[in-house]
Symmetry: C2
């Protein structure tokens, strides 16, 4: 199997430590390793080759963080067009019989026995010509994820991010799984299904790949490719889709709240304080009478957030971007 690592990510959900220049997957906050590095490490037990597809700007940091002992290639997108094209470009670059394990670079997954079993099952199904998606057994009624309605290996439907009441009914029903963004299939099968269900993307990817050189896709070709997710372009339409449930430790780390208990808290001194998360490398942080709070500092940027509200960090980024724009307009 070859591991295709999708390394996109806007970097707004973990501001200020993640930024467009230094997105989440490259932050070395997990015992000094990044999620990208943990992904390589985890999958090196199952894959001999790695293909990393990522934004051109992140080439240097990715090459620096990659493990030199692993057989790793890079494909560079001058601009992102979502997952269906990224995976399409990657599939054109290999033998159609090659099996890809597709994994986002920014998820935290425990590489335990259940992970191993899920990968083995997925590989077997992929060999038979299926498009395999991985579904995480939900542990609570999360409203921030899409769901997969499953019946054994069969997918009955893909469900958008639900309202809370709907998420609760999914949890009770027992056969709804979180859509993980991980996949497994033969490159040729994916391209076949892409050409059938999203022929425009297929054609544009084919042309873009043919014009690319040394792993770098040209900007003008990239802009010709419609933006689309793999779920919408292929998985929701193809009749070759199977789902492999996975009940292991998984987190998409989409917010600081999801980092509680996962990364070490950094506070230097704390008095009458409890249940806080502090991420502030190289800083001295004192907490006084602070509870259920998130404090993140990087450079001259500081976030203080009540626990449970860190989903709104992207709004902070938007507001700061607007302020910056205004300031720049004012100074012209």
């Amino acid at each position: 199997m070859q591991n295709l690592i999708i390394c996109g990510g806007a970097g707004t959900r973990l501001w200020p430590i993640s930024t467009p220049e230094n997105p989440k997957q490259f932050l070395q906050i997990f015992q000094k390793k990044s999620l990208f590095q943990l992904t390589l490490e985890r999958n090196s037990h199952f894959c001999e080759r790695f293909l990393v597809i990522l934004g051109q700007k992140q080439r240097n940091i990715a090459k620096k963080q990659a493990n030199a002992a692993l057989n790793t290639n890079f494909m560079l997108e001058p601009v992102g067009r979502n997952t269906a094209p990224a995976i399409g470009l990657a599939c054109f670059s290999v033998n159609p019989e090659e099996i890809f394990l597709v994994s986002p670079a920014d998820h935290l997954i425990k590489a335990d026995e259940s992970y191993k079993l899920a990968l083995q099952k997925a590989e077997t199904l992929a060999k038979k010509g299926n498009l395999v998606t991985f579904g995480i057994s939900p542990t609570y009624a999360e409203t921030g994820y899409g769901y997969i309605e499953a019946k054994g290996e069969a997918v009955l439907s893909f469900c958008e991010k639900p309202e809370l009441a709907v998420a609760q009914s999914y949890l009770e029903a027992g056969n709804y799984l979180w859509n993980s963004g991980m996949f497994c299939f033969k490159a040729g099968v994916y391209l076949q299904e892409l050409s059938r269900h999203a022929p425009e993307i297929f054609q544009a990817c084919k042309a873009a790949y043919q014009n690319s050189s040394e792993g770098l896709v040209r900007m003008e070709d990239m802009l010709q490719i419609p933006k689309e997710s793999i779920d919408y372009a292929v998985m929701e339409k193809s009749d070759k889709v199977k789902v492999v449930p996975f009940a292991g430790g998984w987190s998409d780390l989409g917010s600081f709240d999801s980092l509680f208990g996962v990364v070490n808290s950094d506070e230097s001194v704390s008095i009458d304080s409890s249940n806080n998360l502090v991420i502030a490398e190289g800083k001295t942080v004192a907490l006084l009478g602070v509870r259920d709070s998130i404090v993140v500092a990087d450079g001259d940027n500081i976030l203080v957030c009540h626990k449970g509200e860190s989903q709104k960090v992207k709004d902070v980024c938007e507001m700061l971007a607007k302020k910056k724009k205004k300031r720049e307009a004012g100074s012209l």
Copy 2:
């Protein structure tokens, strides 16, 4: 009148913005002015000359912040010995008939009509040979200040920082005033009373002043002077003490809590947040769902504190100092 400005202060109560090198009185956080500058400005309406007594290390910052248009002299202590010696040294340097308005550099006082009237009354009493202390009409049962039990101009007793129940009884009684640390008297009268009630301090100050040159007291002389407050050495013992009540706006700014409503909050972006104080010049601070909190950042130091608990900042400083010591011992 000459204004004697006592510029001591350890700088631990407003950490991290105040430090031993940059104590509270020199922080330019009041519309870009420091408390030291505001003290000069406020008293320039009543005094023609200024004598600033301060630690040797703070000479440069004080000279930089002083208003060149004012007649200002400096007396430098290589090490602090509390207020009784500081004021004693100053009194030796002037004509015994000179009237000193003694004021700490780190209080915030509104220079309104009631301040003017209090100063006029104090000057009149000082001319008659009294040691005048200023008592602030309390607005709540503060346990962090000493109190003066008054009967008109007469002082019945000086009271230590009280327990809450005692402070409440003071507030109800109506004739207890906060001990402000401001005084007014003739230099000669202070020295006379100092020689009567604290002859050791008087003698040591006299010798230290005689050996000083260009306003700088010698270290070996300074170390001979017993440490004592003016209250304990003189005011509580002398029968020449009078009190002038002052009901104007006054704050000793002894904690970040006392800065609420006094300095501008610095937050850059704030969502679902209210009643916070942010002091973080040059930083971008985002608050998300944060209420009743204090966030202070300076350099690489960050304090997050729940409102009402900022008295404990000095404990933070102690803990950090201990940690530093331990670290240094460990690296030897």
